[in-house]
Symmetry: C4
Subunit: 257 residues, 4 copies
């Protein structure tokens, strides 16, 4: 998901195959907005549909919500990854910038577009399902367990993005979609892992909503999780220097074995 | 999904790896017909099977219908993509032609084959499940919300096809299948997103059917959605000129960063 | 799935990347036996587990059975494809031979291994679930609709294998697994599409079984379906001649456009 | 999954594309620990969530548990495969060493990290779901059938890893994830297939737990299954000698056909 940022960054060790020059910031920001909008429409819309049809069985509703979100993420990252990197997530944009991806001065525009797109996506989902455009959620999501869940969820997401970028060309979209599919079930918070998504879901009194009062805690936990992942990954998977691969192996005793 | 059309189009920026010359129009049209037939057999047949077995739980039935449709689409695009591009959808054929894919004069043959195949697929599904070959659907699908759903569904489909073709060789089949899997749940209309499919599903009084009277509205919404997507994508992901990549970067200030 | 046969066949237009020489017939036959054994253990075993846990909801049981079969097929084809081609199916071996894949004289050994493996797989599944090694099925599967289902299922399978081999390196395992996942739901017979599987499932009085008396009809329909697909595909996707690509384009007026 | 070990091993026939030198043992061991931790958090956490929401329907709970585990495995192998090979399993590390992968002297460190990570992952899952960090499981898993299940499950896992590494670059993560997805349903034991996972799941009195007294039998069956697979695969898919490919074909009469 750091494709478009690579050409600018000599510290970026892995180079996703991009075709031609990086698109203009305007195009990339629109891609982030439209992509995040579709992501939220997917999360909220499929939650509404699932709850309406599941006849009270929450496991069945969450299963449908999970399938739609995971599949939707895969489609969206494959679609917008080549334009903007398909971050769709302020935590990902910050992590990308911290690893020498997009320049820090562009982070603000990315995040603004993600927020705008996220709320537009909520409104779009509500429009399709004949509900008011926005509604404050009453879905309680609180407690230490769920905050721990958000820490773990976001830590894992950043690790997956960074690690999978070394697994071969084009593997990151599959890794991210698979990760979120799993994290909807293995984290107690159903894995928001995204500050823009968290704020926008607070504006939806539906299956996927979150009480506005619970959102700040989620975002704090996400921030801690992302920061911890960035620190670990910086050591675990260091960027190789652009100048010489030889240097990077000096003193690496394992390689002498 | 625009593989076979690329060799003819200097405006086509991305070139899907094709092997050898483009197949004859006859072969491509048969591929579109057989492929669309299997698509409809999948949608209708799995809907019948799911409704019969689900014991009244609509969420469970739609989950099975979704799994079958998404998986079936992946198989069909991988199978027929190398012959005809596997459009299986008049909206996709028109969008492809508008982007310099298949020549406009071939669109009629593509669409005719898709329509013929679609109705044959419905009859085939009914035959397998011991039902009359055709039956007017009584499944009500109307209202502004569902029309908005079809607009969104088709807009997204066209965007996914266009965007994912830049994500790397062979990613489009996965992106399209994942998108439809998600869209069955996140759009209020369960995402027909295909005029040929819409007309043929009107001839099936089963789980996946649509009242004939509701079909024109769906098709109008699909047309608007596809048209809007074509306009946005033309700006968001411009074709690169065939002559020189340099020209395309003139005035693109971002690239000077 | 015709990888290992390509080096011998000048008529084989698509060349799956194989590494080194074709394995010995002994190795390939063992791979077919072990692979088909695991396939049957998957189909039968997951059917038993699903029926035991589903509490009478057949849609839920078939959903689990489908997920296990589709995922298992993907794993098995990726595992044994590089050794024997992972046909795991007499209809596929015959189709492969008819297209210049494995030599005709090897088809007997392939089919014998598939049959032996299939019955061993049934016994293995029964062993794991504490049931008698074999038991005549009482699961009725008859009528014109289901025979039509087997015709369609096998026709589609052969078309998917042949068509997807042109979609890019390594796409066939995904196409086949996705196709069977869909066909479990869209064909009225739940898509056996495999004579060896059909015979072996007759020896299992469980969820996935078939009455022995119904098996011959299924196999006849499968044979007709495979044969029809071979004929259509031979025209739709002709092998390119080994000598010259130029010849194949003579008279192909579409290419002059 | 044997990527990082290849550069050291002249007997390693298949070379996964690695970028740069093998990471230090410290990094690889941390990757194994973190990866196995996430694996256990996924298995245990999704089991708790699924059981809580499924309203007593075990098939539905296992379906969610399966989806999360399969998707999580795919994400984890894609993430950590490039660092440590993402064994996440002592049986895999031993099999890898036996095939000339990681040196035997590193197996101890790998296994210790996997065990530590596994128990940490259990504690993490319990923490997220507000349960005591550890609790002895009371989930009975015994009897010849389930032991046979573990033998089959582990045999298959080792075969899939070895076989799929020849199917093309990057196919092993998909093959392993798909295999475990299937094996959750087709083996009577729901496929632990991993000694570290088995021990750690004994410390969780939840859906995915196993009575401590049942663990040794499972591990014995896993050991036998892995050993048998290594023996079969050594014959079925021999490593090619590093010196000359010609030698490997001498006496291979099939290749003369």
């Amino acid at each position: 998901m750091s494709g478009p940022s690579d050409p600018l960054s000599p510290r970026s060790g892995e180079r996703v195959r991009t075709r031609g020059p990086r698109p203009s910031l305007g195009r990339r920001v629109v891609a982030e907005g439209v992509g995040t909008g579709f992501l939220l429409a997917t999360v909220i819309g499929s939650g509404i549909m699932a709850e309406r049809l599941a006849g009270g069985n929450v496991a069945l509703a969450l299963l449908a919500n999970t399938l739609a979100t995971g599949a939707g993420l895969l489609a969206l990252i494959l679609t917008f990854g080549g334009v903007s990197g398909a971050h769709l997530n302020p935590a990902v944009s910050v992590a990308d910038a911290s690893q020498g991806g997009i320049p820090w001065r562009e982070v603000g525009a990315y995040v603004a577009a993600q927020l705008l797109g996220a709320f537009a996506g909520v409104a779009l989902a509500h429009l399709m399902f004949d509900a008011p455009l926005f509604s404050a959620s009453r879905h309680v999501r609180s407690g230490f367990g769920q905050l721990a869940g958000e820490f773990v969820a976001t830590f894992g997401l950043i690790a997956v993005i960074r690690g999978s970028s070394r697994a071969g060309a084009g593997m990151t979209p599959f890794a991210v979609a698979a990760y979120i599919t799993a994290a909807y079930w293995f984290t107690s918070s159903t894995s928001f892992a995204n500050p823009a998504v968290t704020l926008a879901r607070a504006a939806s009194d539906t299956f996927a909503g979150i009480r506005p009062i619970d959102a700040p805690g989620f975002i704090a936990a996400q921030t801690l999780g992302a920061g911890s992942a960035i620190l670990l990954l910086r050591w675990l998977i260091p960027n190789r220097p652009a100048v010489s691969d030889d240097i990077s192996t000096i003193g690496d005793k394992e390689n002498a074995a």
